[in-house]
Symmetry: C2
Subunit: 366 residues, 2 copies
């Protein structure tokens, strides 16, 4: 297999490691492994040096599969899942670990004195991986575009199927089925909520049956060829009230103006302020909840994250948006109490403005 673009990514990674004083990265997060080697899977690890060498460890069962999919200098199959630094043959130096991915107990296992030589110092490598992955290559944008197309197919199917009596879960079923027919390998959790449940921050599907007059919020994130997209639409089953229509129109205006403000060099706080300002001016300032936006790539929610959200995830506040960063705008909802509305699209940052990838009509009434 060709090692483009992985060898270039590993070289960039080595440069960032040297600048940060790291000798080795020890990665266990599938998304990070996939970015650097072409394959990311559960219960595996990738070790990369600041000279650009990559060693992979995978279950012994998976060796042939990984040979076919990944770029590496060394590949080991292992029989059990318990590792420590002795296993990795690291005797000393500064080792980057994924503090935002490893659980505290996994971290404890890796850095326990029984397993970690005294001269090994662990550091968080999250900022390096975020910096590496934040601006997308053209090939990555094409994959995100493909995922966005699949997400739209899912949204079309869900909206078309919507009728009173379906459970929220059955609405999710229509979207997911359509996405699997058109190229999704998997999805991040599908959100479908309806009626009063549109007011909650993370509306995962339940057995609630949608009713005439309900708002229904549908949020989809397929994984296609290793990349994700993020789309949310709110629709009404039947005719919305004037208040619902006004809130929706306000949110959509705020979201679209925020997207219009997306271009190279703009800061996320600045974009936040566009959205928040319009919602405030519309009298719903107290009704927003959640970060306005987040990055999209291998993960549907990744760097850049807005400052508050970044902090929660243990990351630093992001720099101004660079060209080819991909973000989802409209992650926060407008929650009035009895119901909420939200519209979210996946957008590429370009020097002269935004490129919207999730092309599905934005309207409450169908």
């Amino acid at each position: 297999m060709t090692c483009h673009p992985y060898s270039e990514r590993v070289a960039r990674c080595a440069g960032l490691m040297k600048a940060a004083g790291l000798d080795v990265l020890l990665l266990a997060k599938p998304a990070n492994m996939a970015y650097l080697t072409g394959d990311g899977r559960l219960c595996a690890y990738a070790m990369t040096t600041n000279e650009g060498k990559v060693a992979l460890g995978v279950p012994s069962t998976d060796v042939e599969d990984v040979k076919r999919l990944a770029c590496f200098d060394r590949l080991d199959g292992f029989e059990d899942e318990a590792h420590d630094f002795k296993h990795f043959e690291i005797q000393e130096g500064s080792v980057g670990l994924e503090y935002t991915f490893l659980t505290h107990s996994m971290m404890g296992m890796l850095t326990h004195p029984h397993g970690k030589p005294e001269k090994v110092v662990a550091k968080d490598c999250t900022p390096i991986l975020s910096a590496l992955r934040i601006a997308k290559e053209d090939g990555e944008i094409e994959r995100i575009r493909a995922a966005a197309g699949v997400a739209v197919t899912g949204m079309v199917a869900a909206v078309k199927a919507l009728k009173p009596g379906l459970t929220e879960s059955q609405v999710a079923a229509e979207a997911e089925y359509a996405m699997r027919q058109t190229g999704a390998d998997e999805f991040w959790r599908t959100y479908v909520c309806s009626g009063p449940r549109t007011n909650i921050a993370h509306g995962l599907p339940t057995q609630r049956r949608v009713q005439k007059g309900d708002l229904v919020m549908i949020d989809l994130h397929p994984i296609v060829n290793g990349y994700s997209a993020d789309i949310c639409r709110t629709v009404c089953i039947g005719k919305p009230t004037a208040e619902q229509q006004a809130a929706y129109d306000l949110y959509l205006k705020a979201q679209q103006r925020t997207i219009a403000g997306v271009k190279t060099g703009v800061g996320m706080v600045e974009l936040d302020e566009i959205l928040h300002g319009i919602i405030r001016d519309g009298g719903h300032g107290d009704h927003l909840f959640g970060p306005t936006m987040h990055g999209v790539g291998i993960e549907f929610e990744e760097a850049p994250l807005p400052p508050g959200h970044a902090f929660f995830h243990g990351e630093k506040a992001p720099p101004p948006l660079a060209t080819n960063v991909v973000i989802a705008v409209g992650n926060c909802g407008l929650y009035t109490g009895p119901w909420g509305v939200r519209v979210e699209d996946t957008v590429v940052v370009k020097p002269d403005g935004p490129q919207i990838l999730t092309d599905f009509v934005r309207q409450l009434e169908f």
Copy 2:
């Protein structure tokens, strides 16, 4: 709403906390919150004292929804996701945190000197929650039974739909669609792999098209009314080779004899040995990979975990199986190199033997 069985669970929890010298638990894992309060959701927390008081914190948008679903003494809505001990009004004492759930960076945030009073000491509360949840109440077993029924419906749909040309993801689509029609709110990741991919340890679905003569491995884990089940079947599209049939027969015999050995008081290592022994005697001793079994409940993979697996998850080795523990038997696969086979069922531990919940025929050829 009625607080049965949550108040009883909180009382049991308080007893275990006193025995372990813990004053307060601060929980963020949805499964643990759901067990103790009736509601577990993302970006929320539950604080319980060793006097049996429960305080919940949820996004401000979710307060009414949580009032309807959870049992608690105090409920706070919050506007952002960043917390520390000052926010929790804990000044001193021994505080239990979920070391097997919190990332190292979240842990660092919670226990940073800026946020944690000097007199607060953090300890891992994973063993307490595992001990609480390990043996199921009758009501929980009924929910797992319902989830098992939904899992079987998914398996029926997937096996029925199987034909050459479908992608692995399309096979998963059939199972998931059927499960959402019959009561699943969500699923843990669906595994479908085929042909040479049946030899890998975690066969998530891809765009590979199944072919005549392929083995196909289907592993399903629906969530129904808050509880999970776990079923895996391997089937052949067309006629298996004699070698495949023999390996399947051997694995099935080993899995079924292991299930037959399940009863109150038996140890997991003992059960492991039944399965491993039969596979060894059949000449495939080097072809097993993965833990033989694991617990099933709110999560599809929870305590009890076999010793090696438990260590990896930061848990202690489990005690002998108690009555009403629910386990999935057949989690390890028999991997020959070119292909693998696996059969997994969800089983309740009873004094006089096993009660199998996932009732779907075990055969390679359909």
